[in-house]
Amino acid sequence: MSQIPADLRYTRSHEWMRTMPDGTVEIGITDHAQQSLGDLVFVEVPEAGRKLTAGDACAVVESVKAASDVYSPLTGEVVAGNPGLATKPELINKDPYGEGWIMRLKPSGGAAAESFDAAAYEAVVAAGG
């Protein structure tokens, strides 16, 4: 059973969002996503300054058996990609909701992906989504 913290928002494509005190949003992939991928061997994070529209592929997570895109849940500008993932992609496996964050985004309003609270996301996972 994967962890689904109650204080975060989630997407159907298994990203999580955490709104920071300064209004930026931290984004990563869920515990369920990292378990499905297996041991990560490479992560490509977006560069600061990149402008994203909700639904854009913004990062790549590569495991020993698959490579997947991570999609931006929001529209906005990348404030930072997690620099630690370049040398330690396993941070996502060990701490998907903490040290394994992928990027911080400054939302500009506009389009956003459908998102869920923890209970609704748990139902998405349970339904095999």
């Binding site: 490479f42 490509e44 560069e47 592929a57 495991s63 698959a66 490579a67 895109d69």
Partner: protein
């Protein structure tokens, strides 16, 4: 890998298992209106005897002329063991088997090939081959755009001293994908890119600069200065190199300050006969930091569950069977057969043997240029160092001269009129280690006879 055809019984058993009455039944979902029942313009099948006769006639039409054309594909001596080994049943397939690790020998050949290419180019890592030099250049341009994440322009500077066929192929493959390949004109006095001429572009967002070495005219570019300019201006460097030349010249990995990012070219000079234009085999190598953007298969060395050494396909997550539409390319190892020939050829030559070949090419071309430029109305177009090709300027149009030489059984070179009309009556000639002094004298006598006739306007 043995070829095991299915028997009628095998086919019947498989169809019965999935409940389909016939092979045609597998294609039921294709509407009848979309099916092509016959192929107009395609002749009926011939018998083996008829095919043999036709092929022999066509082969005889080539004759066995004395060849002085290079222009991207080069006649080299291929030691007899190369194709004796490559055509053995264990190797005689273009493809990596689907269960790649079951074919350790195939993977080891790929690994050895990659090691040799990476060593020659002084790069960290090589893939297991591409189609040919032209598509390798296209793939290198696409790779540079993927690898250079800060550059937004997808602008690639391509000197007009790059093989014009390669440039056309690279444009055809990349322009539909949003790349902008911009031609950079060479200095007409030297036949090289003047690094100072790049100053006008300094500070612009340029994704990559292609540096040909030697260039299409056989001249040596100032690869160090060009690489330094690219680095200073935040552009990646794509080296388009002749692999034989690497035996005696500074490899791309050591150019300028920090070396090229990607090296590519045609490995045809290693064990692959000219064969009326192909198939040839492309190579590509890069620095480790770009390895995830490198297209194609890569064999790696590893240990199995019992700790025994072995070979495996590695970094497959970049590839089409996993990443689908977002794969780095749709290249596999379909040049595996030619890659095997290149590997065996290089293994037979060794570093010292390859260096002898390269030095012989340079010496023969110098002799050829010296002999031909003694004739009236023939001069070398460019000063400066060259590898195994040179541009000659004639005092009359090249095409009729080549026709006259062909009548004497000599392929006199490549007429530059179509691709470089501004150069005037210019002929690109080449002499590899396969051209003897006697060959060169034969050519000089024949060209002398042609030049001795009154020039035709």
């Amino acid at each position: 890998m043995p070829y095991i055809p299915h028997t009628q019984d095998d086919v019947r058993a498989m169809l019965d298992r999935i409940g389909v009455p016939s092979i045609d039944g597998l294609f039921d979902e294709i509407p009848v209106a979309l099916r092509v029942e016959s192929l107009p313009g395609v002749p009926d099948a011939l018998t083996e005897m008829e095919v043999s006769r036709l092929a022999a006639q066509r082969a005889a039409a080539d004759g066995s002329p004395l060849n002085f054309i290079g222009a991207g594909a080069y006649e080299h001596h291929i030691p007899a063991p190369v194709w004796a080994l490559v055509t053995r049943g264990e190797i005689y397939s273009a493809y990596t088997p689907y269960q790649a690790e079951a074919s350790q020998g195939t993977l080891q050949i790929m690994y050895e090939y990659q090691s040799m290419i990476a060593g020659l180019a002084a790069m960290d890592v090589s893939n297991a081959s591409l189609y040919d030099g032209a598509s390798a250049l296209a793939e290198a341009c696409l790779m540079a755009v993927r690898a250079h994440r800060r550059s937004k322009s997808a602008r690639i500077l391509v000197p007009d001293t790059v093989n014009p066929v390669w440039r056309r192929v690279a444009s055809a493959i990349t322009e539909g994908q949003g790349l902008r390949l911009e031609t950079l004109a060479c200095d007409p006095a030297t036949g090289r890119i003047d690094p100072a001429a790049l100053a006008a572009l300094s500070g612009e967002d340029i994704t990559a600069l292609v540096v040909p070495q030697p260039n299409f005219f056989g001249q040596l570019e100032d690869a160090d200065a060009l690489t330094r300019w690219a680095r200073a201006n935040g552009a990646l460097v794509i080296a388009a190199v002749n692999p034989v030349s690497l035996a005696v010249m500074k490899p791309p990995g050591e150019w300028g300050d920090g070396g090229a990012d990607i090296a590519c070219g045609d490995a045809q000079p290693f064990g692959v006969p000219l064969s009326s234009g192909g198939p040839y085999v492309g190579f590509m190598a890069c620095r480790m930091e770009h390895v995830r953007q490198l297209p194609g298969r890569i064999a790696g060395r590893t240990v199995d569950a019992e700790g025994k050494p072995g070979f495996t396909l590695t970094l497959q997550a970049r590839e089409q069977h996993i990443r689908r539409a977002k794969a780095t390319s749709n290249i596999c190892t379909n040049q595996g057969l030619l890659m095997s020939a290149a590997t065996i050829h290089l293994a037979l030559l060794g570093p010292a043997g390859l260096e002898r070949v390269a030095r012989a090419c340079i010496a023969r071309t110098s002799e050829l240029v010296a002999a031909l430029t003694q004739l009236p109305g023939v001069r070398a177009a460019f000063p400066g160092p060259r590898f195994h090709e040179a541009v000659l300027k004639l005092d009359r149009p090249v095409a009729p001269v080549l026709e006259a030489l062909a009548a004497d059984g000599i392929i006199g070179g490549f007429d530059l009129a179509r691709d470089y009309p501004a150069m005037g009556d210019a002929l690109l000639v080449c002499a590899t280690e396969t051209r003897t002094r006697a060959d060169i004298e034969t050519y000089a006598r024949a060209l002398g006879a042609v030049q001795g006739r009154a020039a035709v306007a």
